[in-house]
Amino acid sequence: MSKKNARVANDKSTKKQYQPYMEAEWGFINHWYPAAFSDELAEGEVKGIQIAGVPIVLRRAKGKVHALLDQCLHRGVRFSAKPMCLNDETITCWYHGFTFNLEDGELSTIVAAPEDKLIGTTGIQTFAVEEVAGMVFVFVCEADWDEEIPPLANDLPLRFPENNERFPHPLWPDTPSIMDENVVVLGMHRTGNANWRLACENGFDAGHLLIHRDNAIVQAKEWAVPLGIKPLSEEAIAIVDDENGPRGFLNRYFTEHYEPVLDNPILDIKAYGQNPKYFRTSMYMPGVLMVENWPEEHVVQYEWYVPITNDTYEYWEVLVRKCDTEQERKAFEYRFENLYKPMCLEGFNDCDLMARDAMQNFYADGTGWDDEQLADMDASVIVWRKCASRFNRGIAPVPKGVHGATKAQSQHFAAAATGKWPGTQAFETGQKYDKS
């Protein structure tokens, strides 16, 4: 077949349908994102992060987590660069002493200028925070957001058993949710060097199982992981568009709508493993993946690909399990430490992390989105792009004056030299710059 005549799954008219997604280089805004694990933020601690180009400082005071814009209005430095909190109600800029209320962001005093006329007339943006099952979520919004904040549950995956009828799962028990009672959430997060969209798409892409073929967990458990999974009809992918609930789509794996590809006679390659491994992926705004029945029964894996800049994202992997007794909790923690973390979240998913970074060069300047040649296996990628175009609450503007807004190579090298490469780690709290 000549190259010219090959059918391209994402021709120009298809691309047009997800124009907003292509514009969302820095992510979507006005959504809930994970910001930290609760145990990363002890009482009084301050932590600086960046989400969708918005620098955010977190501080726990009297048990409650506060989130404010991590950029002093005076000279633009990050509070988190050298945390200074002089009481439980405020955060003070370490540079010139501008002091802001944690609750409403108002400039409440200036250390060496308590009579300054600016006091009480200005302030910095604050963000809504929810702490659930050991995770801190922040509603990252535009400065002029004046609407009611949507519930966190609208930016989390579907729940069960309430969706059993709609999305039956005869091959595994009800999937737990981070919002359920008595759940334990265990996980990790780290920075990936790719655009956040490449990470999202890798999460549910039905054709990428090949990269997991040689993974230790797959070999050890002799999972019958197919070479790929092929959508057979439109029904293969269900759109989730609830008026007041999560929005995204669900891959109906292990139903008549998907066909596992078990061998390729041309290459004489076969899927191996005798033990059936049933699972299902679904993806929701603003970029949260759910892998049901994974890595084992009664456990679910959630993943977030939180945009930091347009070329870095924070990769969150958490496992959720209902543990009604202390014994169950201990057993889950033990299995997490000794199996799930080393062999799944690291071993297995390290391959995903590598694949996303490997795509970045091609997509970095934006031309990759035009030049890629998607195929039938990528149906869910196109569905996701269309869903995201429709269901987002706003496209994050290209930021100014923040980390990553201009590509300052020297800063990256400096960060690398201190062993803090890459990403936000270099901006973490508590570094003592005075080495005396």
Partner: protein, 350 residues
């Protein structure tokens, strides 16, 4: 005032105050018989202008105090209702007495929106209905057009001629160096003949602009757009700009009308935009349907009702044939939209 009275008044100088929307004022002396635009240009008052013939509408201003008459010997694109409201085209207006004229844009607008010249290369030419083409051009990578406002127009030189014609972009600055236009192809006309008979992908077309003060005012208030035919083009640019800037919390209503169903175009584009913007309500109207048509059967302006005016600061944009915009403006005012919040693109059908 009678002509003879006016002639008498014109014997003397007049003091003209130009007041911009940012409150900045310029004062100048108008000599007898001098056109208002010439007064402004001579005194470096930063007003916008382009065609100098009374057709483009770029030099529009509003008389707040005093008497300013229109040059009656010329065919102007000003709507009768606009003239009655005190609007004038300053390239064809004379200060009869001391006066204050208001410009509906800031004093920095001209400086921030200087005209540029570039050569565009045709990359797509698509017939979107029986008499309308979608023309896509690629400008140089380093094009200076990135300061154009959604709703503005450029002039295109018809290849092989010395003729220039004006068209509003339907694309936004974000799509640069690509620029898209929807152009009605008439029975005859230099651009129409070119598009029908000679235009090919790869053709080079000189571009000059951007011009015009019909542009998106991005206030956080409900927006109403009424478009007739290819008057849809600037609305598409404005809708995309609103979406790109996350304008989602106030309603945007687009009433798009054509005479016949076969005259409609860009329906798929509008449908996509409705999917992307939950606050966008597109009302497609056909005034003289033949056969089955289950949409609105009316002219576009009648798709807007009193229920749509939920905010006294509602902004409205009108673009289409003069008879339509005139009628639409009268209707919106009667429904409660403030006259000064209604922006009209004066539409040439050359």
């Amino acid at each position: 005032m009678s002509a003879s009275e006016a002639a008498q008044v014109l014997e003397t100088e007049a003091q003209v105050t130009f007041r911009f929307s940012d409150g900045v004022e310029y004062h100048a002396i108008s000599q007898p018989g001098e056109l208002l635009l010439d007064v402004a240009r001579k005194n470096d008052v930063p007003v916008t202008w382009q065609c100098l013939t009374g057709s483009c509408g770029s030099c529009i201003c509003k008389v707040e105090e005093g008497e300013v008459s229109s040059d009656t010997g010329r065919l102007l694109s000003l709507l009768p209702s606009e003239a009655k409201e005190g609007l004038r085209l300053s390239c064809a207006a004379l200060a009869d007495t001391d006066c204050v004229v208001e410009l509906d844009y800031p004093s920095t607008f001209s400086e921030d929106h200087e005209a540029h010249q570039d050569i565009g290369t045709v990359t797509e030419l698509e017939w979107v209905n029986h008499n309308t083409v979608r023309l896509v051009m690629e400008l140089p990578e380093d094009t200076a057009f990135e300061d154009f406002e959604a709703g503005q127009y450029v002039q295109l030189q018809v290849p092989g001629t010395e003729e220039w014609r004006s068209y509003s972009m339907s694309s936004t600055v974000k799509e640069l160096p690509e620029m898209t236009f929807y152009i009605r192809v008439l029975e005859s006309g230099v651009m129409s003949d070119y598009l029908r008979e000679r235009c090919q992908v790869g053709d080079q077309i000189p571009v000059d602009g951007a011009y015009g003060v019909f542009y998106l005012r991005e206030e956080k208030v409900p927006q109403i757009m009424i478009a007739g035919g290819t008057g849809l083009a600037p609305m598409l640019s404005m809708i995309d700009t609103l979406r790109q800037n996350n304008f989602r919390r106030k309603p945007v209503i687009l009433a798009f009308g054509c005479s016949h169903e076969k005259d409609l175009f860009a329906q798929d584009e509008l449908e996509m935009r409705s999917d992307w913007m939950p606050n966008l309500d597109v009302r497609t109207c056909v005034s003289r349907p033949e056969g089955e048509w289950d949409g609105n059967q009316c002219r576009a302006q009648f798709a807007i009702t009193a229920d749509d005016i939920t905010d006294e600061d509602t902004l409205a944009y009108l673009c289409g044939p003069p008879a339509m915009t005139e009628d639409a403006k009268t209707r919106l005012i009667s429904l409660g939209v403030k006259a000064e919040n209604i922006h009209v693109e004066l539409f040439e059908s050359l």
